[in-house]
Symmetry: C2
Subunit: 281 residues, 2 copies
């Protein structure tokens, strides 16, 4: 892999920032917001930021770059597709709970739903994420889907996927802004309002900065052409020329396995492996 | 250019969404927020969203993709560098006025500065934008800068530039969220609060959606490898093979001009044109 040390720096940064974001959002709701419960009150609302950050930011972020991890390049592409789909399905389940929590809280408190820009962008991201899963499964994992449809849909799937992740980060930043303004307003039972920068505001603003930096790392990794998973046909020659991390035997096995798994589609002139590997670019 | 029709679709979409964003932010402050003035009050604050959207979103966005417009590929690379720098300097001037307006308003109303996530991300974007201009001018437009420094700094300049643009879009979304919550709060002199979705809220949320889509188009155009400005050495062959839009005579003239303009640096093995053209990738 070209510029491998740079890749490792961005990956480690993403892992660090993403993990720290999850820790900070948990610390926020457990230390300052009374914890988690399913009581139609503020404690139920707290599931919303926690599950959104874990799902739509952390897990979904690593779902975006899963094909780019060079340690997976000697694994079957089909296996990686299942992992990519699996991470996004887990995200979907967490998002459903996250949305039920916030709608349930709003309805019980007679707070209108879907009026803010945060809710517009956030719900659009969730709907698009769901459509991506359905269309992705039908297109790339159903063996009967014609190759030309896979090819046509690939760039749309990639572009929309990156955009959804960007929307998710933006929605998280707006969600933090909203929540801090609403919960730390003057006259509330907190010690200081948001404008006086109490420790909670500093910590949650910092969470917002970490989420933004995590998003930057993920999108940078996902758009560098030199960090793209090489097509199976190229991987072997790369392995022999550069003595790289690719295991030639495994690559051959992968190619054979995929030929079997993907059936007749592999006999078409277009290399399906090539189509698949563009999915994170 | 590969996938030229797709490029045109994204470019037209960006031009449309960006222009509409400028129109909407002007309509917002002129129709609902009392217009513009320099009175240390709300009318002075109104310069902040107007100049930020025009500068940091619209002008800066097109500054990001200026090298990718194929109609400019037969123009001197040095000329394009001046246009890129010029657009970013205009953005900087607008941002200084935009920031003076908001600090002046806050100070006159005894509102604390720099407590919100919007202000953290926004000011960081402005500081980083300013540093990018200074370092970019010193590195790419000063003839005495050694080639190895240009090469080393290029990928940083590109990566940070794209991240600053992403930060700017995110800051705009948070700014819209803040302003709508503060100005359309229950009990204010407006007809309906934000939570009741008055026409102003719908329009400004729509502005937020347009800014987000504009950001998506710009970042998509800026990260597709197939839409990169070709190095001068390649442009001629592309022109002869495909009868493309490139004017071979002009390309040769450009190369000659740059050889003169960039002096001895052109005689190094590394092609400076190649270094320069990576600036939007």
């Amino acid at each position: 892999m070209e510029k491998f040390p740079q890749f490792v720096v961005f990956l480690v940064a993403a892992a660090f920032l993403g993990s720290l974001s999850v820790v900070l959002v948990l610390f926020w709701v457990l230390h300052w917001k009374g914890g988690l419960a399913w009581d139609q009150g503020l404690l139920e609302f707290n599931w919303h930021p926690v599950l959104s950050v874990i799902g739509l930011i952390f897990i979904s972020g690593f779902g975006v770059i899963i094909y780019r991890l060079p340690w997976t390049w000697n694994r079957s592409k089909t296996l990686m597709k299942y992992i990519h789909a699996g991470l996004n399905i887990v995200t979907f389940v967490l998002l459903v709970i996250s949305l039920v929590a916030v709608f349930d809280f709003h309805n019980s408190k007679k707070i209108p739903n879907m009026y803010s820009l945060h809710s517009w962008v956030g719900l659009a991201a969730v709907i698009m994420h769901t459509l991506q899963i359905v269309l992705g499964l039908c297109t790339f994992l159903l063996p009967c889907t014609p190759t030309f449809i896979k090819t046509l849909y690939m760039s749309v799937h990639v572009g929309v996927g990156l955009f959804i992740f960007g929307m998710s980060v933006t929605a998280a930043e707006m969600g933090i802004t909203e929540k801090l303004i609403f919960s730390l307003r003057p006259g509330s039972n907190t010690t200081l309002p948001y404008s006086q920068s109490p420790p909670e505001a500093i910590l949650v603003n910092t969470l917002g900065v970490f989420i933004l930096l995590f998003g930057g790392c993920i999108l940078w990794i996902a758009t560098r052409p030199e960090w793209k998973r090489p097509p199976a046909s190229i991987k072997e020659s790369v392995g022999s020329e550069e003595g790289s991390i690719l295991n030639k035997t495994n690559v051959s096995a992968e190619t054979n396995n995929e030929n079997v798994a993907e059936g007749t589609a592999r006999s078409t002139p277009l290399n399906l492996e090539d189509v698949g590997q563009r999915s994170t670019f």
